[in-house]
């Protein structure tokens, strides 16, 4: 969705505004993530200047949403920061950055994980799915459609993590009742309190499956 927005200097997106007004500190931060190959439309929207390869950067290959990404990353780069800052897929959100909120939930080799507590290097050669790989605004994943239909969000910040968890839950051992769904969704915090509608959305998809 975001990927399809056209860059417009007269009316910059928040992300472009932040990146073009970035300070030296921001430039330094961005320099830690250096895409090796720029072969997709996503990489074409690079957030400002890309610095030289930093000392100690390591080449890795991660398949994200079906595309192989050749990257060089500082060993400290979490999978979350790699997805957001190197691959520029910003649908995955950073909340607490300590594995306590679930906003950064993605699938690695088909299983849900919190991407903030994992290093990108640990996933060399592995397959990652983010919210962008689930569906598009035209062809939504049934879970995305259900969240929309059931109003499973308010501010939306936790929503991509909620949906990634919910989609993974469909394949996990889970009782049929709401209580079981709540238990398996407890790792995704929603400070707006959309929990009742989130459970309704998940149950809607499970009943139709």
């Amino acid at each position: 969705m975001l990927d399809k927005q056209q860059s417009n200097p007269q009316n910059p997106t928040r992300r472009e505004f932040l990146s073009t007004t970035g300070t030296t500190a921001a430039a330094t931060l961005i320099a830690a993530y250096v895409p090796v190959a720029e072969n997709t439309s996503v990489e074409a929207r690079t957030p400002g200047p890309i610095g030289p390869a930093i000392d100690g950067a390591v080449p890795i290959s991660i398949r994200i949403n079906g595309k192989d990404r050749q990257l060089r990353v500082d060993p400290r780069t979490t999978l979350l920061d790699c997805i957001r800052e190197a691959v520029l897929l910003t649908g995955t959100k950073k909340g607490c950055d300590h594995g306590q909120c679930g906003a950064c939930t993605v699938h690695v080799n088909g299983r849900r994980v919190v991407s903030c507590l994992s290093l990108a290097l640990m996933h060399d050669g592995e397959e990652v799915t983010t919210i962008e790989g689930l569906g598009t605004s035209e062809t939504m994943h049934p879970m995305q459609a259900a969240f929309l239909a059931c109003d499973g969000y308010q501010c939306g910040y936790c929503t991509s993590g909620q949906i990634m968890s919910a989609v993974a839950l469909l394949k996990e051992p889970c009782g049929p009742d709401d209580t079981s769904v709540k238990e398996l969704m407890s790792g995704n915090i929603c400070r707006c309190g959309a929990y009742a509608n989130i459970v309704a959305a998940i149950q809607q998809v499970r009943k139709r499956a």
Binding site: G56, V58, P75, R76, T78, D97, H98, G99, G102, T105, R111, R112, V113, V114, C116, L117, S118, L119, L121, M122, S165, A168, L169, E172, P173, K182, E183, L184, M185, S186, G187, N188
Partner: protein, 333 residues
């Protein structure tokens, strides 16, 4: 986060050789194995852990759950907590372990966290996790502000004047009742450590949490053959209904012959500085009728030496009721 070198050893021997060069395998280790990362990455972001080298052991062949020749179970070091909890044999024969694991963390974290990593899970004490604070576990000799400070969630059993940090693991409480064995390979060869001997009390050296030495690599955990007809319960009490550490928890494995308790293993979580097996409570119950009065007496025995701090006196009664209820639930079958 401090910089580090990241490598992926080809095999266990290579991992052990490199890790054997570490100055310590305890708090502040300069070389760390990494598997799930759910504890280590968190603590590295907080700069509580600052290893110079990380050895990724995720692709070593320790990811299997297999039957042992005697009918027990061999659980690989990197088996994910979710796979262990949902394994058919574990659910059938060692259900206390499955219950305990599923009561901890979140589905995402259980997909990441490993058997060996959970054995080495670090305390949630806020002073340990904040490098602006003094902490004897993090910086030996610096002091323990928790003893006079924020200690509502901290330990009441096994504490010392130097440390009252709680061991946060649920998995370990269940493994204590199952009398698991921890298998380690190190620079001097392989050895097996009884579960009760693996974790250390803080004493005057709270930075030493286990018996592991530099280069020691946990390869797997074994469970003895299951006890036929045993009733197994894990009960966890906490501030929220889910995704929260225990204020008190109890694991029970019990066999009844008629109405008499012929075998019982009891351990507590959320209240001890290590996973807290209670031989005192077991002694009260063994050979006695499975009745409420005896359950309460066992709980009294388990908490007899509890030492509360300024904010956690409530844990004594909470833990007693937790254990009493777990025992009753087990007896009810």
């Amino acid at each position: 986060m401090h910089s580090f070198e990241f490598t992926r050893p080809e095999n266990a021997a290579a991992a052990i050789t490199v890790a054997g060069q570490a100055k310590t395998a305890q708090q502040g280790a300069d070389i760390r194995f990494i598997a799930g990362g759910t504890t280590l990455i968190d603590l590295m972001k907080l700069e509580v852990e600052t290893p110079a080298r990380l050895l990724d052991i995720n692709r070593l062949p320790f990811d299997k759950i297999e039957e042992t020749p005697d009918g027990g179970l061999k659980i690989g070091a990197t088996v994910r907590n979710s796979d262990l909890a949902n394994h058919a044999r574990v659910q059938r024969d060692y259900s206390v372990l499955s219950q305990a694991i599923l009561s901890g963390a979140s589905a995402q974290l259980r997909n990441m966290a490993t058997t060996a990593g959970n054995l080495l899970q670090r305390t949630r004490c806020v002073y340990f996790r904040d490098i602006a604070m003094r902490c004897n576990k993090r910086e030996p000799g610096s002091g323990c502000p928790a003893i006079t400070g924020s200690n509502r969630t901290l330990a009441i059993l096994g504490t010392s004047d130097h440390c009252i940090a709680t061991n946060p693991s649920d998995m370990c409480v269940a493994m204590a009742t199952l009398e698991a064995m921890i298998h380690v390979e190190g620079p001097k060869g392989a050895r097996t450590i009884a579960f009760g001997d693996f974790h250390l009390l803080p004493g005057s050296t709270p930075h030493r949490e286990t018996v592991l030495e530099p280069g020691d690599l946990i390869t797997h955990v074994t469970l003895p053959p299951p006890r036929a007809g045993s009733r197994q319960v894990y009960l966890k009490l906490r501030d929220r209904a889910s995704y929260e550490f225990a204020l008190a928890s109890a694991a029970v494995v019990m066999n009844l012959t008629g109405g008499t308790i012929s075998y019982v293993r009891i351990a507590l979580g959320g209240v001890g500085t290590k996973p807290w097996r209670s031989p005192e409570a077991e002694a009260v119950l063994t050979g006695k009728p499975a009745i409420a009065g005896n359950f309460r007496q066992a709980a009294e025995a388990a908490l007899r030496n509890a030492k509360p701090q300024s904010e956690n006196k409530f844990k004594i009664e909470l833990a007693k009721r937790c254990l009493t209820h777990a025992l009753q639930t087990a007896a009810n079958g």
